[in-house]
Amino acid sequence: MSTAVEVTGVHRTYGSTTALAGVSTTVREGSICGLLGRNGAGKTTLLSLVAGQERPSSGTVRTLGHDPVESVEVLSRTSFVRDSQRWPDDFRIAHVLSVAPAFHAGWDAGLARDLVADLRVPTRTPIKKMSRGQASSVAIVLGLASRAPLTIFDEPYLGLDATARQIFYDRLLADYAEHPRTVLLSTHLVDESESLLEQVVVLDEGRVVLDADVDTARASAWTAAGAAGAVDRVVGSRRVLARHALGGLASVTVDGAPDEAVRREARAAGVELGSVSLQQLVAALGAGAPTVDAGAPATADEGALS
């Protein structure tokens, strides 16, 4: 299996601001990788480096086997539709669709037309005057229909309603299944996108705090909930990532995997063990927005995907 993206010891500073502080990761070719983290964690910077739109201050970036900066091989095989994509003033969706094939050998005009219809992209409105969600839809059309070997979505869902996001997820999976390629997707919507992802990289303050395949990541922590005293006894000296209390009840997220002794002890003490969702794990690592109201115990079935 070859590697689509290889980032090694990358630092990126802007003046006195450090955006990335020693990031290393690899993304396997043909996988969907989610890049998670809070605003300012360095997600967009990392994606820009991978796409060759910026250079690292130090460290190396290899994209599709090349240094991506000004590389024809990389640029012709990468689709990176930025959040802040600029278009000429009078450009409408038809103009975009007519120039896109020039940049992407794999461009599928039929898919683009379907997506424009499904996402209800207005055909008469200049792109510059589109709403946030409509502009996001244009970016999704470009990203998906490019069929680029490396497709990068930087928070592609801003302003989209739940239905449009579901269309995006469905079309991404369907097209990816037929035309496998490497997809990098940065997102805050962890619960929504978890099932799409094979690998997850979590950034916090310019550092990688988690890099694993999704199943491994979710198995890397567990929760224990019940009477506070019993929970603390069961957890013992294990590393606690997060703790929530409600009166005499406690729910803790614990690093590692529960062994048989813990399971036995928990059963005897009436403590409920559960597995973590990716969102809970990201939050527990300090990299997510707090999702649990103060005092509310996080139970195993909270926030279940429906």
Partner: protein
């Protein structure tokens, strides 16, 4: 569609196994492809692939090269056997524990089960 209890591939494997057990897929019948499962359940195709491989390892499904995945002969009996082995742990133990917490003794519990069985 899936909860947080266990890895998604595990849940999908259980779901396919449920369908085999319920007879929704007959033995020697072809099951959906990995990509079809992925699209239907809105999950990564690699995850769907893991679920299918897990069932192949357990002898529930088998692969016919170039054609697809099929339900193995004897898969249903195999699943019944596996699930019976787990039945006490999965269902009886929590039931007895809850009953004890409510002060329902074994005799009363047995009567309730008999009543339920007759209705």
């Amino acid at each position: 569609m899936f909860d947080e209890g266990s890895p998604i591939f595990q849940q999908l494997a259980d779901r396919i196994a449920d369908d085999v057990l319920a007879g929704a897929y007959a033995e020697e019948q072809q099951v959906a492809s990995t990509n079809e499962f992925a699209a239907f359940y809105r999950i990564n195709p690699a995850t769907a692939g893991k679920a299918v491989n897990l069932l192949v390892d357990r002898g529930v499904l088998y692969k016919r090269r170039g054609i697809g995945m099929f339900v193995a002969p004897g898969a249903r009996d195999l699943l019944v056997e596996q699930r019976r082995a787990r039945f006490a742990e999965q269902y009886v133990r929590p039931l007895v524990r809850e009953a004890a917490a409510l002060g329902i003794d074994a005799a009363a519990l047995t009567r309730m089960i008999e009543q339920e069985d007759q209705s």
